[in-house]
Symmetry: C2
Subunit: 304 residues, 2 copies
């Protein structure tokens, strides 16, 4: 495997109608755009390519992500954004879920579930809650209407929430356990990685001894939903991302093209290591590298 | 397999010099003694049997457990009690650990580590701590002297502690990850089970992607330590407990006799199910059942 040549890039440009970008490490890092991201998205739009932004981050809503993209110079609509919190909500809607969701997660997850018509318990309203350990019989009373425990990143996790989630799962065999994503770590600053949703999901597996249904990358749900909603064939999609175990694996397992960018968590040596079994169709330093073929593209839209 | 007969009990009484009891579900439930526990321990003591109490619970120190036993009518010394927090401290002492421990756990764990001469960071002092998310570059600064992350049950778990532990493990490959125990759930009341130390351990595995060294049951360390300290052969020990996956497995894997009591979490149907692969040498309803052979024991101590 070697870095994508101009010929590889031109072939990808011709082959794929839908360009599915990861956000953190691919389009931006924290609050800074990756150089060339804006220009490359503009180029794709000028050729009427479909653009999507798909993130496992469950703390912001689709609208909040679209607003951030727009503010950084990449105009985007909420409908072009997929988040793992949207995926959780969309999944529950597809199965006509009509009970309440117990949320271990932040505002963005509650927003997406609420927008899908699902009543939420927990989430930010259980921030700072403590069990009364002075009570002779300590007890967490759970709402019997809860039919799903939905877990995303929660930077305000506490024992009360873990116990509430566990009781929902143990007291009701039919209560679902839905994981927005199982990412070990994510980025809130450029100086260190932070514990991700995989932390909260693992904690609840640890106490409930139940296994979750995963909806974020690399599970198929978001690509299934995107392709069905926008009537796009899988092999006309290319996934561009910085993570092998989520982005690239997601594309490969679901029949899409894949492009790994080295602007995030994956280094070239990790990618090329014999230990790595996840091989993208293409790789390059960053999405800005696609701009090298700008002058070689046809001036018309005949390639579409 | 069938319930122990009087003949089985007499044979066990003769065969074993050291009687190693689990506490919760075996000697007591919450703050109530299991009927017959006091009388059976007295009987064993009258025959100069060695008695030990071994619990995975890491929230109370040895002294606190001995005091509870004594207050319930079973006089016991701290040296007869083994806890998984003591095990963590004893293990670190055996390897001449001289750095600091970052504690995800409660007062009892800090007490045991401190008693072993180990400086602790975290634990109760990090209760209620929050990361400053308003900071442009949120950051958890860790003490570079930390050489081990030691994890037990922590009912005051928060994101700050999880992030601190993760940073210790990620920023220093030689930092150890020590789990007092990995019990999914424990008892703080008779009305519901509560998330156990396995919750915190799983969370830190989830974010650090590191595997811990387990010291509590069913790992061998506590039985190794007990036998070495008191010069007892493994095959002269019998483990009496209510949990198949910790107590009984621990005894079997380490060459001790085993007796499962049905006074805690294991039911007779679970024990006898074809799904269960953990078979104790003996089983009975509760340790009080041993008293049925009281009148058949020799009056002298010749059996010793």
């Amino acid at each position: 495997m070697k870095k994508a040549t101009d010929q590889d890039k031109l072939a990808a440009f011709q082959a794929y109608d839908a360009w599915v970008f990861d956000l953190d490490g691919t389009i931006w890092k924290g609050s800074t755009l990756i150089p060339g991201a804006k220009e490359f998205i503009e180029l794709l739009r000028s050729y009427q390519k479909k653009i999507f932004f798909v993130t496992n981050n469950a703390t912001k809503s689709r609208a909040a992500n679209a607003a951030k993209l727009t503010s950084l110079g990449i105009p985007a609509s909420p409908g072009e954004v997929y988040t793992s919190s949207f995926a959780a909500a969309a999944y529950l809607r597809t199965i006509s879920f009509h009970k309440k969701a117990y949320v271990v997660g932040e505002e963005g997850l509650v927003e997406e579930l609420s927008a899908a018509g699902i009543s939420c318990v927990g989430g930010p309203e259980h921030r700072g809650k403590e069990i009364d350990w002075q009570d002779k019989e300590p007890h967490v009373e759970v709402d019997p209407e809860v039919g799903a425990v939905v877990v995303g990143l929660d930077r305000f996790i506490n024992y009360y929430k873990l116990q509430y989630a566990t009781q929902c799962l143990l007291s009701n065999d039919s209560c679902m356990f839905v994981a927005c994503n199982t990412d070990a770590r994510g980025h809130f600053s450029s100086t260190q990685e932070f514990a991700g949703a995989g932390t909260m999901v693992a904690a609840i597996i640890g106490c409930s001894e139940r296994e979750p249904l995963l909806l974020g990358k690399p599970a198929s749900f978001m690509l299934d939903h995107l392709c069905a909603t926008h009537q796009i064939a899988r092999d006309k999609c290319i996934v561009i991302g910085d993570r092998l175990d989520t982005d690239i694996l997601w594309g490969i397992q679901n029949g899409a093209g894949t492009c790994c960018v080295l602007s995030g968590v994956t280094s070239e040596s990790q990618l090329l290591s014999s230990d790595n079994k996840v091989h993208p169709s293409l790789y390059m330093d960053s999405i800005g590298d696609f701009l090298s073929v700008k002058g070689q593209l046809p001036s018309s839209c005949s390639i579409m």
